[in-house]
């Protein structure tokens, strides 16, 4: 019974550790996506896409 409970506790620990590192991995992925999007936005200059969509110039 005690031996079985040691085995059970070990399995619980492994499951918890795997999920905890999965959460940590998720953090890295979210950061990578956000950083990639930000750096892409910085690289590309804002170009008017439609005719007439240019900023109005005050004279």
């Amino acid at each position: 019974m005690v031996l079985e409970s040691v085995k059970f506790a070990f399995i619980v620990y492994v499951i918890a550790a795997v999920i905890a590192f999965l959460v940590a991995g998720m953090i890295k992925i979210i950061f990578a996506i956000i950083n990639r999007r930000n750096s892409k936005a910085k690289k590309e200059p804002s170009v008017p896409t439609k005719p007439g969509a240019q900023e109005s110039v005050e004279v």
């Binding site: 019974m1 005690v2 409970s5 040691v6 059970f8 506790a9 070990f10 619980v12 620990y13 499951i15 918890a16 550790a17 999920i19 905890a20 590192f21 999965l22 959460v23 940590a24 991995g25 998720m26 953090i27 890295k28 979210i30 950061f31 956000i34």
Partner: protein, 401 residues
Amino acid sequence: MPDINVLQLFQGIATLAASEPTIAISRIVLILLGILLVYCGVKQILEPLLMIPMGVGMASVNAAVLYLSANSMGTIFIDPLITDPAKLIDIMQINFLQPIYTLTFSNGLIACFVFMGVGVLCDIGYVLAAPYTSMFIAIMAEFGTIATFPIAIAMGLTAKEAASIAMVGCADGPMVLFTSLILARDLFVPISVVAYLYLSLTYGGYPFLIRYLIPKKLRGIKMDLKKIPRVKPGEKIAFSVITCTVLSLLFPVAAPLFMSFFLGVIIRDANIAPFRSFIEGPILYGSTFFLGLILGVLCEANTILNPKVFILLILGMTSLLLSGIGGIIGGYIMYFISKGEFNPVVGIAGVSCVPTTAKVAQKEVHAANLKAQVLPYAIGANISGVITSAIIAGVYITLLR
């Protein structure tokens, strides 16, 4: 005119005299313990927010036993053992704390409210700054939560009871309450009381553990705070929403805990001022007050007297001690991996008693080296501890329910 009988007039004394010696002695001991808790709370030796209402409730309920009928004794505070719906409706109109107990305590709502408050207080950015390190330390600091389970089985508890008392090692009151309510309803009162009493002691006990296990030279290691990247609120919110959804998907039974915690985090980072002040103030302080009061009132001698209480006291202490040791071992492993740049004291903050263990870590580091700062890393490990504790609670409840 009726005859005046002194014992009929002072029923608290009459029931004390008429009770079995064990119950009578227990009532007196619990009254004195309640007064001691109030004293320790007022003197700030133990957490005053919990200990003052708990102590007053404990002293009062054990003094206020009266004759409910010719043959039965009880109180007009709470009846935690009642299950029949018709009787429950009746008793809700008699026992003044019964509505709060039935509608907020026995369904875990109060634990979720406290967890929501913890979420609002936590800056999750410190976890996101060093996610793997924080999670590693937190999972090492769950050692007590895991190792106490087989010890409890060896001491004669059932698997559900063993898991509930082992959760004391995660040093998170609402989590212990939530788990024991689902897994060991008969023992949830003594387990929750043991948990909250011991959690109050972490502030006094863990510094000795740190000083005993970590030499002063290592305690004074200065950590580089410039390495910590800045995390934007949008990133924190994205992480919270995704993690909450994924964890709820994996463990639906612990979803109320995940949702409450991450909702608090999101409200903090979304900077919704009215909700934030509502959760930080009325919700958190109101829940803490009623949590302490109800736990104290539940410590009535007839309810709490259980042959397993002594075993629970030993196991609760073992669990917290092993978690502290596990956290420090995690700190040492990080110290060796980082080639001496990581302060092993941070390991104790993996035990998720937010923010007590993080403050203990910083205090001990500061005492060893006035220039050393570890608080951001300690808070990261601390908040990760909350997440890993909720995960372990989810695993235990799902597998043993």
